[in-house]
């Protein structure tokens, strides 16, 4: 990275997207609002008529919603990976990426929580989870850890942003009054004194360490929703690390997609440089290889031992109905990306962007394949139920409600990126050699 930019230039580049909104951006928001409206309509229908409007039935009792929930939890883990792990390892190229990662984390974990409520048969009783809480149930741990992770993620977005907020309070005077007021309040009277800096850096360090066990817990507990049952395909001891490693894959890919979009839309190619993409590409290859290793264990060992139910389940995936999705997600979403990412040319922004999209889509399909097909292989045969109980193809209502949560994630990221700088100004300035006491010198 060329380190010649002045603080002034960095600020101008970071403030530009906050000052001016382009037409494409407005169109994008309208599109998201449309998706939300459709989703709300379908959800109201679901509230009135029950979960029967979905394709879920007594055997496939969990479907699109739960698969999507697992996906969102997986995406949300990236905040912990990029911000915490890379920062604690003092990896400096990741600095401009941290804020994007945090924004994605917050949006994903928020809508993971919402998706769970959407899946409930009685959302009017959601408070029962607290009032009648039972420690034995992984759902209680899940609720607990998701909320904890959300709080820590918000703090991890906010607290390192305080110096930036102070800059915005002082320099960004040409935005609406409510926005100026918000920056003033959020900046917490930051003046950039030595004492404030030392408190800030200590707090960030504590949060970085704190978020790690919570992040591992959130996805391990999510995997235990499945692993603690007696079901074939779920009854696995490696589900925790299998899920966590898969989460890092989809999270890194999601950040790459967002990096590329922001780079183009916000013209910040001097901050999210080819170097950042190259390194993120390498990181994606690394986490994908780890995930592939877990996949090997998860599928090949039961294939070898040939237990009847396991075989029925695996045949369905390998050569049965689900084979196109299974091999598609495995080859296009994992193996092919690993091979391609070995080449430097493929780690350039545009090819990497397309590879990352394939990884994200493959990961989404993979979550569905983990959640849904196994339910059709219970210990006792499925008999005396209507044909619709034997298959699962999501209904339009279900898809619309899921679309709502997808749109919601994009909406939160878009809004956050429009009122806050998408890369940390002070940290980037420090990398460019701006001394700490000059960051707020004009007060």
């Amino acid at each position: 990275m060329e380190k010649t930019k002045t603080l002034e230039q960095i600020q101008q580049d970071a403030f530009h997207p906050i000052r001016t909104h382009r037409f494409a951006g407005k169109l994008w928001i309208r599109f998201l609002v449309l998706l939300v409206v459709l989703g709300v309509f379908s959800y109201v229908t679901q509230l009135r008529d029950g979960l029967g409007i979905t394709a879920m039935r007594d055997y496939s009792a969990w479907g699109l919603y739960i698969g999507h929930f697992v996906f969102l939890v997986a995406v949300s883990l990236v905040g912990a990976l990029v911000t915490a792990i890379l920062k604690l390892l003092n990896i400096s190229w990741a600095t401009p990426v941290t804020r994007i990662a945090e924004m994605i984390s917050i949006a994903a974990v928020m809508f993971a929580a919402i998706t769970i409520v959407v899946d409930m048969g009685r959302p009017d009783r959601v408070h029962h989870v607290i009032v009648h809480a039972r420690l034995q149930s992984p759902i209680f741990w899940d609720v607990f850890v998701i909320n904890t992770y959300l709080v820590i993620s918000v703090l991890l977005l906010y607290i390192p942003m305080i110096p930036d907020l102070a800059m915005m309070r002082d320099r960004l005077t040409d935005v609406p009054a409510w926005q100026r007021k918000m920056y003033r309040m959020l900046a917490l009277n930051w003046k950039g004194t030595k004492e404030q800096w030392s408190t800030l850096k200590k707090t960030i360090k504590v949060l970085l360490i704190l978020v790690l066990p919570v992040a591992f817990a959130i996805h391990t507990v999510t995997s235990w929703l499945f692993a603690v049952t007696h079901r074939t395909g779920w009854d696995s001891t490696i589900f925790g690390p299998y899920f966590v490693s898969g989460a890092f894959v989809v999270g890194v890919a999601a950040v790459i997609v967002a990096m590329y979009v922001f780079r183009k839309a916000y013209k910040i190619q001097n901050y999210l440089t080819i170097h950042q993409f190259n390194m993120m590409g390498k990181l994606l290859a690394l986490v994908s290889i780890i995930y592939l290793y877990f996949n090997l264990n998860e599928y090949l060992v039961p294939w070898y031992t040939e237990k009847l139910l396991d075989m029925a389940h695996l045949k369905e995936l390998f050569i049965g109905h689900e084979a196109p999705l299974f091999w598609g997600s495995l080859v296009i979403g994992m193996i092919l990306p690993i091979v391609l990412l070995l080449f430097r040319r493929m780690r350039a922004p545009r090819p990497l962007f397309f590879i990352a999209i394939a990884v994200v889509l493959g990961a989404w399909v993979k979550r569905m394949l983990i959640v849904i097909p196994t339910q059709f292989h219970p210990h006792l045969p499925i008999q005396n139920v209507p044909d619709e109980f034997m298959t699962y193809v999501p209904t339009w209502h279900e898809i619309a409600v899921t679309g709502l949560t997808v749109a919601g994630v994009f909406m939160v990221i878009t809004i956050l990126a429009r009122i806050f700088p998408v890369f940390p100004i002070w940290e980037v300035a420090e990398e460019h050699g701006v001394p700490q006491d000059e960051l707020h010198k004009n007060e």
Partner: protein
């Protein structure tokens, strides 16, 4: 709730003995006019003079003053439904050699618990363990496991195991997460994807009886309850008494006595299991099922694939 079936006068002595043993001999059990079901006797002096005919636990119809009758309130039903019957431990034995797929158990159950046609608390499965072995019919209720994986995963204690061994559901607490469906290895649980069968405002307004899980509610779980409401009255579960072929035995393992629902013979549970090589299903899962099967050997009739007609009737 439908009126309780009247005991036939020619009950065998063993049946009566069983009822006495099981029954809560708390006096009269009322069949109050509106059929709001379970009632209990109250000791009171303020008589109204109005006489009500009620049936006692041993099948006699007697007239009592209406002041002596009170309906069980919803909160009483709820707290009693959580505790269960003191000193009891219920088991079911299913004799596979006798099941000819009449499916009367399924219909009686659906009627009692107000289920939709596709909802089965008890399901008669056609089983064949391997290509060399003979096929057989297997009625499959909830196994009321002593180590139930379903209650373990419930986040709100909506499904729970009582001291008498029965696993129940509180559909006023259930949040509809369906974790218990995932947790149950025996596919015993059913969800209300659609509005329940009886869903008029009056039907919905009935006080909730947790022991029959009636009225059923949208977005909650239901499953086999061993007809806990009938068992409280000293009656046999609906499926057990509906069977025309003598498949089901039901009783109290503490007394080592189970009663056949068709013949009303009461036999020793331990002898029945020992002499016929009784077993439980997937006992290696560690769930400790409390429904025992007698193997389908020496069948009293040949196996027939049931036609749709036999299912309908």
């Amino acid at each position: 709730m439908s009126k309780k079936e009247r005991k036939s006068p020619e009950e065998s002595p063993s049946r009566r003995a069983f009822l006495k043993k099981m029954g809560l001999a708390a006096g009269a059990v009322a069949m109050a006019g509106g059929g709001l079901g379970l009632a209990r006797a109250l000791a009171g002096d303020g008589k109204t003079g109005e006489q009500v005919r009620v049936m006692t636990t041993d099948g006699k119809v007697v007239a009592v003053d209406s002041s002596a009758i009170a309906e069980r309130t919803a909160s009483e039903m709820a707290s009693e439904g959580r505790e269960g019957l003191r000193g009891k431990k219920f088991v079911m034995v299913i004799d596979l050699s006798r099941c000819r797929n009449a499916r009367k158990c399924m219909l009686a159950c659906q009627d009692h618990h107000e289920l939709r046609p596709e909802q089965h608390h008890i399901n008669v499965l056609t089983m064949q363990d391997s290509p060399q072995t003979a096929p057989y019919h297997m009625p499959k209720p909830c196994f009321h496991c002593d180590n139930p994986p379903c209650t373990k995963v419930c986040p709100v204690d909506a499904t729970y195991k009582r001291q008498d061994g029965i696993v129940l559901i509180d559909n006023e607490r259930c949040i509809g997460c369906r974790f218990c469906i995932a947790g149950c290895p025996y596919s015993a649980r059913v969800f209300h994807w659609h509005h329940p069968l009886k869903n008029s405002p009056e039907e919905r307004a009935r006080p909730y009886d947790v022991e029959a899980n009636v009225p059923q509610r949208l977005g909650t779980i239901t499953k086999c309850l061993f007809s806990a409401d009938k068992v409280r009255l000293g009656e046999l579960p609906s499926c057990v008494s509906a069977c025309p072929n003598g498949v089901f035995y039901f009783g109290d393992v503490n007394e080592d006595a189970v009663t056949n629902g068709t013949t009303k013979q009461t036999v020793r549970f331990s002898e029945l299991i020992r002499d016929n090589h009784g077993y439980t299903y997937f006992e290696d899962l560690g769930t400790l099922p409390q429904v025992f099967y007698l193997p389908p050997k020496n069948r009293v009739f040949p196996f027939e694939e049931s036609s749709e007609e036999t299912i309908e009737e």
